[in-house]
Symmetry: C2
Subunit: 198 residues, 2 copies
DNA sequence: TTCTTGATGATACGAACGTATCAGATACGG
DNA sequence: CCGTATCTGATACGTTCGTATCATCAAGAA
C-alpha cells in the first residue's frame, strides 16, 4: 500500500480556502483557480477531490455548519456561571453575532450561502436538514428557566424564542453593514433578557 | 426637436426586468442579454440607457427601494382603523413579510442585493443612505402610543422597536426558505403586539 | 423636408471560468 | 525496487458575458 492521505482532512483544508475567499470577496468571487491558489494546492487537486464546483460549494457549506456548531457547543461549555440559564442563553445568542473577525467572516459566508440557496435546492437542503433549529433550543431553555422560577412571569416560550432568535439574526445582519454598533445590539439583547428574567 | 421620450420611465421599465429575473433566478443570473429580452428591448438599448451593468444594478436597486416605500405608505394610508397606533404598526410590520407573491419577490431581490452590497460599496451606499430606518419609525409610533395611553406599561421604545423590526426581518427570511409558515409568523407578531398593547 | 433623438441589428473582441486531458513527478508501503 | 496512490503542470476546449463598433432605421418637431 502506497502513500495514505486523509481525504476528509484535505477537503476541509480546501473548504477553508472557499470560506476565506467568500468572506472577503463574496461567494460570487469563488472560482476553482483562486480556491486552489488560496489553499496552496494545484487546480488539478481541487478537481480531484471535488469533481465539480457545485460539489465544492455544497461540501464547503457542510463543513462550515459543522464548525459553527462545534464552536457554539464549545462556547456554551466554557460559559462562566453555567448554572444560570440566563447566562447560557446570553452566550448562545452572542454566538450568532459578529463579535469578532472570525464570527464576522462566518456570518458573511453563511449569509451569502443563504441567499444562493434560494435558487439552489441542493444548498437549501443543507440549510433545512443539517441545521439544528435554534428556536427550539432557546424555547427549551426558557421552559427550563420557567420551571426553575427564573422567569419574571409566565410567557409563551415558543413565541419569545422565535422573536429573539430571529431578532438576533436580523441585528447581526445590520452589524455586518455597519448600520448598528455592537454595543447597541448587546444592549437590546440584555434589555429583552431583563424583560424575561427580571 | 425630434422624438421625445421619458428616459426615466424607460429605465424603470428595464429595471423591472432586472427584478423579475433576480426574483426567480437570483441576482447572479442577471445579465445584459436576458434583461434586454425580458424587457422586450434590444441589448443595445440597455447599454444605451445604463452604460454599464454595474450602473444598471445600482439604479435598479434605487427604483426597487422607491417602489417599496410607495407601497408601504399606500398600505398605511389604506389601513382600516388608522386611528389605532397598534393597527397601523401591525400593517407596517406586515409590509416587510412575504405575504404575497409580489412581496415575496421584492424580499428575495432585496436580500440578494443586501448580500452583494457587502462587497460592493456603491450598493452599500444605496442601502445606508436611501433607506428610511424603520426602527426609528416604529420607535416613534411606540412613543406616540405611550402618550396616548395605549401601551400596557412603560417600555424602552427604542429597544422594543429594534428587536421587533429585526425580528420581523429575520422571520421574513425564514419564510422565504419555507422554514416557517406565514400563520406562525403572524402569531408571533401578534403575541408581541399583545405584550406591548395588552 | 430636414435634422436630431431614439432605437435596432449584427457582430466582434477579450476576458473569465468550469471542465477535461495527458503526461509525469513524488512518496510510501510491501 | 516496485507498484499504487497522491499530486502537479501545462494546456486546451467551449461557453458565457460585458463591452464596443458601425451602419441603419424610425419618428416627430421645426
Amino acid at each position: 500500500m502506497p502513500k495514505r492521505v486523509n481525504h476528509d482532512e484535505r477537503r476541509r483544508q480546501i473548504a477553508g480556502a472557499v470560506w476565506r475567499i467568500a468572506a472577503d470577496q463574496g461567494l460570487d468571487a469563488v472560482n476553482m483557480r483562486d480556491v486552489a491558489a488560496e489553499a496552496g494546492v494545484s487546480l488539478r487537486l481541487v478537481q480531484y477531490y471535488f469533481e465539480t464546483k457545485h460539489n465544492l460549494l455544497v461540501l464547503a457549506l457542510r463543513y462550515l455548519n459543522e464548525r459553527s456548531e462545534q464552536r457554539a457547543t464549545a462556547r456554551i461549555a466554557a460559559t462562566p456561571g453555567a448554572t444560570s440559564t440566563r447566562a447560557v442563553l446570553r452566550e448562545v445568542l452572542m454566538e450568532f453575532l459578529p463579535i469578532d473577525e472570525e464570527h464576522r467572516d462566518t456570518l458573511r459566508v453563511h449569509l451569502a450561502y443563504y441567499v444562493r440557496s434560494l435558487n439552489d435546492p441542493e444548498l437549501a437542503a443543507v440549510f433545512l436538514n443539517d441545521e439544528t433549529p435554534l428556536e427550539e433550543l432557546v424555547a427549551g431553555m426558557l421552559d427550563q428557566a420557567h420551571e426553575a422560577g427564573e422567569l419574571v412571569s409566565r410567557v409563551n416560550a415558543r413565541h419569545e424564542a422565535d422573536l429573539i432568535v430571529s431578532g438576533v439574526n436580523g441585528l447581526g445582519i445590520d452589524l455586518l453593514h455597519g448600520r448598528r454598533q455592537l454595543d447597541d445590539v448587546v444592549a437590546v439583547i440584555d434589555y429583552h433578557l431583563a424583560r424575561l428574567f427580571g
